[in-house]
Each structure stands twice: as C-alpha cells, then as structure tokens.
C-alpha cells in the first residue's frame, strides 16, 4: 500500500516537473499554458467558486450514473428474458450507437432546458449502452450446467433468471459500471458545454473565453480528480457487492 502511494506520488511529481519544464523551456506565456504553480495558486484562491461548480457537476454525474445503472440493469434483464425483445430492441440499440451522443446534446438542452436534467440525461445516455451490453452479455453466458440444474430442480424461467442468471452475471454488470464511472463525467461536461449556467464544464468554457487559462486548468484538474475518485468508489463498491462472491467459477 505504501509502495503504491509512493509510486503514485513519484509519478505525479514527474508530471508536474515535465509540465513546468515545458513552460520554462518553451517560454510559454501564462495565457497559453500557465505553470503548475500558478494553476494551483488559482485553484486555492478560487476554491469556493470551483467547489460550487464541482458540486453541480458531481450531482449531475451521480444522478446520471444511478439512473443509467438502474435503467441499463433492467434493460439487460428484459432483453435476456425475452427473445422477442431481443429481436425488436437490439437492432435499435445498435443503431443508436452509430449516432454520436455529442450530436444529441443540443436537442436534449432544447427538450430538458438549461438546468440539471439535460446534463443528467446526457450522462445517462452515454453510459446506458456500455452498462446494458456488459450486463446483457454476462446474462446470456450463464454456464449451461447451472441452468440444467435449475430446470431439473423445477425452477420456472422467472426464478431461473432471478436466482441463477442475474447473480451469475453480476460481475459483468460490475464491469459495465466501472466503464460508466469514467464515461458519465464526459456526458455531463458535454451537456454543460452545449448550454449551462453552472458546472465545471461551464466554468471551463467561461474561463477559456476570458483567457483565464489558469482557472480553466484548475477546473480541469478538479474534474479529473473527481472522475478518479468516482471510479475508485465504484470499483470498491463493485468488489464488495457484485464481483467478489461470483468471481470464482473455478469448478463450474
């Protein structure tokens, strides 16, 4: 654990040194690329402002993630349960993936307004497919022997799904959620770029427009740290509740 922290610290220090070296050697003015010292100074000075916007973005991301997980989870189960649903819905889902989600952002803003919900919808849209498809694939790969055993024991389709297929597929759901934790902030930020009056994406765009590049970088760093924390949190939760127990299929 200590060794891991030390490695991360060393890596971060190296990145900061390279950053500062680039600024110094190329003699870049602060409105093109400010050095790390200046960025962290701004981060500290504007902490209240950045924290305010970060809270908004954080709420959008968490709501999008929660709704996407719920919706994706039930969609996957529905698709796995019904061959009819698979035939009707899957082509639609695959087709929808050929539309860049970014292109939908203006429409979502039009439909849902400039507030929180257009960003939540954006985050939800961007994670829905990875969550659904990871969980669905796992649901379709239940070991045949388990299904045989369940049927011989007299389980109907409903109970087979609930007591065998779903628990066996939870590790797949977990890998979908891990991806979602990284994608959801992207969705929220795109939503904020297209039209918002709050949030880190809005703040970055605003700072960029006013040549406050140090503020933009400060917001960017906060966004990156939030995303990493979210991913770590989701990963932990997945390990604890989803993939820990079903990980060992060794004898199946």
């Amino acid at each position: 654990m200590i060794a891991r922290v030390a490695t991360i610290a060393a890596s971060a220090t190296l990145a900061l040194v390279l950053w500062q070296a680039l600024v110094t050697l190329a003699d870049l003015p602060p409105f093109i690329l400010p050095g790390p010292g200046r960025v962290f100074e701004t981060l500290w000075k504007s902490r209240a402002l950045i924290a305010h916007h970060a809270t908004i973005t954080g709420a959008e991301v968490l709501l999008g993630l929660a709704l996407g997980a719920i919706l994706g989870g039930f969609s996957a189960i529905g698709l796995a349960a019904s061959p009819m649903a698979r035939r009707l819905i899957r082509p639609m889902m695959v087709f929808s993936q050929s539309i860049p989600v970014f292109a939908l952002a203006p429409i979502l803003t039009l439909w849902l307004g400039y507030g929180l919900w257009s960003k939540v919808a954006m985050a939800l849209l961007i994670i829905y497919f990875p969550v659904t498809s990871a969980f669905f694939d796992a649901l379709m790969r239940t070991p045949q022997h388990w299904l045989d055993l369940g049927r011989i024991m007299g389980a109907n389709r409903h109970r087979l799904m609930w007591h065998i297929r779903v628990p066996a597929a939870l590790p797949g759901f977990a890998s979908g959620l891990r991806l979602a934790a990284v994608y959801a902030p992207i969705g929220a930020i795109i939503g904020e770029w297209v039209g918002a009056s709050k949030g880190l994406g809005y703040l970055m765009l605003l700072a960029n427009g006013r040549a406050k590049i140090d503020l933009m970088f400060a917001a960017l760093i906060v966004l990156a740290v939030l995303t990493l924390l979210l991913h770590a949190g989701v990963d932990r939760a997945c390990r604890k509740w989803l993939d820990g127990k079903a990980a060992k299929h060794g004898h199946a």
């Binding site: 022997h145 388990w146 299904l147 045989d148 055993l149 369940g150 049927r151 011989i152 024991m153 007299g154 389980a155 109970r159 087979l160 007591h163 065998i164 628990p167 066996a168 939870l170 127990k245 079903a246 990980a247 060992k248 299929h249 060794g250 004898h251 199946a252």
Partner: protein
C-alpha cells in the same frame, strides 16, 4: 417416505439437424439400481442424460422415454453433474437448499443441516464454496442432491475433476446414500463403472453394448480382483476400434 423408484427406459435415436448423435438404441435402467453408461467423449452420453432430464432443447429425439409406473418424469429427478455446480454467491446451507429457493418453497434449514451432517460437513454450513476443498464441495453437491430426495438420480461424470483418493471416497459416499434409487451414471472412467454399476453399458459410435458387472453389490472395494479385471476388460472394449 420416498416414493418407490421406477424402471426407466429410453428407446430411440437422437440427432441434431442432419448429424446423428446416437441410436437407435434401447437402454433400461432397473428400478432402485445403479446403471453405468460408459463411453468415450463425444458419443452422446451427456446428450442421452440431458434428454432424460428434459433439459435438451436442441437435439431431435425420436422415440420414447418412459417410467415403469407410467408417471411423468419432471419433478422426480435430481442431477449431479461435472464439477459440483455450487453457486459461489450462496453459502453451503444456501446451496443445499437451492431447490426450495428455485421453486419458491419454504427452505427447511433443519433438514439441510441434517443432510450436511450425513456427508460430514455439519461445521461448514455458513462457509462459502470457495472456502472448501474440491472433495468438500462435491460433498455439498451430494447433500444438495439428497435434499432433493428424488427417486431418480442422474450423475454426469460428477467426480471426474477429483483426485483419485477423494474420488474413491465420493464414490463410496454416493453409493451409500443413493442406495435404493434409480441411478444413471454417465462416465468415461472404466474404474468408476466397474466399482459402481449394478448394470454396465458401453455407448460407442456403433451403439450400446451390455457388459456383465462384477459380482457383489456396489460400491465394490477398490482392490477387489474381479472388479479390477472388469475394469481392464472395460478399458480394452473402450479402446477397441468401432
């Protein structure tokens, strides 16, 4: 009181599309006896077992599967298959009571504990399967099968993944506890068939061959001369060109 087990007869042939799987053949599994179906991989042993169990949805079977008492088969069979098929997200007790859970019936914990006691795992009820050894896991699978308490038991190479000593122990334990049920065991191991079969049949590409089992009821001692000789002859038959 458990219902009296019936004879079980499967008669017919199976194919998937245009590919023949086995047959035509006729296999009789006498009531309350242990029938061993021996054969190399890929001759349709497992298909035959899954057809009996009513879980094969892809094979076209032409023929009949009947019980001598004329009653329908679903709900009267239990399965022990390759590996132990324990659900890793349930503890040992949860696995033993899986059948009740899957039928939405109340779980009889006391009976489950009694079954675990019978296979010598009373102290392990709250452990998860990954905390057990291969032999212990297989004993949980046996307890789960006994919990189902069905007159017909289908065994699909259940002990093939175990080491020799544990396998022999499991064979003894299973023979003891499944006594009096109609058992079909599919196996590729001549030693297993020679030890456990009241009736032994070899399934090959050309059909079914009956084999006279050694004297004495199963489980026969591992070092019994006649059993070892039977094992040798079975292996020779398996190796003979079809």
């Amino acid at each position: 009181m458990r219902p009296i087990p019936p004879d079980l007869v499967i008669e017919g042939s199976a194919r998937i599309g245009d590919t023949p799987i086995f047959g035509p053949l006729r296999l009789v599994m006498p009531a309350g006896r242990w029938t061993c179906l021996l054969g190399p991989s890929g001759v349709g042993k497992t298909t035959l077992l899954r057809l009996l169990a009513g879980v094969d949805d892809v094979t076209d079977f032409t023929g009949t599967i009947t019980a001598s008492d004329g009653l329908a088969l679903p709900g009267r069979m239990a399965l022990m298959a390759q590996g132990d098929l324990l659900m890793p997200w349930l503890d040992v007790l949860g696995n033993v009571t899986l059948g009740a859970r899957l039928r939405g019936a109340p779980r009889d914990k006391e009976r489950a504990l009694a079954m675990l006691e019978r296979v010598g795992l009373a102290d392990h009820a709250r452990k998860t399967p990954d905390a057990l050894s291969g032999g212990q896991r297989q004993r949980v699978a046996l307890a789960r099968t006994l919990m189902e308490d069905r007159p017909i038991v289908l065994l699909d190479e259940p002990f093939s993944a175990l080491d020799a000593r544990t396998r022999a122990q499991m064979q003894d334990l299973s023979a003891e506890h499944l006594l009096g049920r109609t058992v079909l065991m599919v196996t590729h191991d001549p030693a297993e068939a020679a030890r456990l079969g009241d009736a032994i049949h070899i399934l090959s590409e050309t059909g079914l061959t009956d084999f006279a089992p050694p004297r004495g009821g199963p489980p026969r001692p591992v070092d019994d001369t006649e059993t070892l000789a039977a094992q040798g002859r079975l292996l020779a038959l398996l190796r003979a060109p079809a």
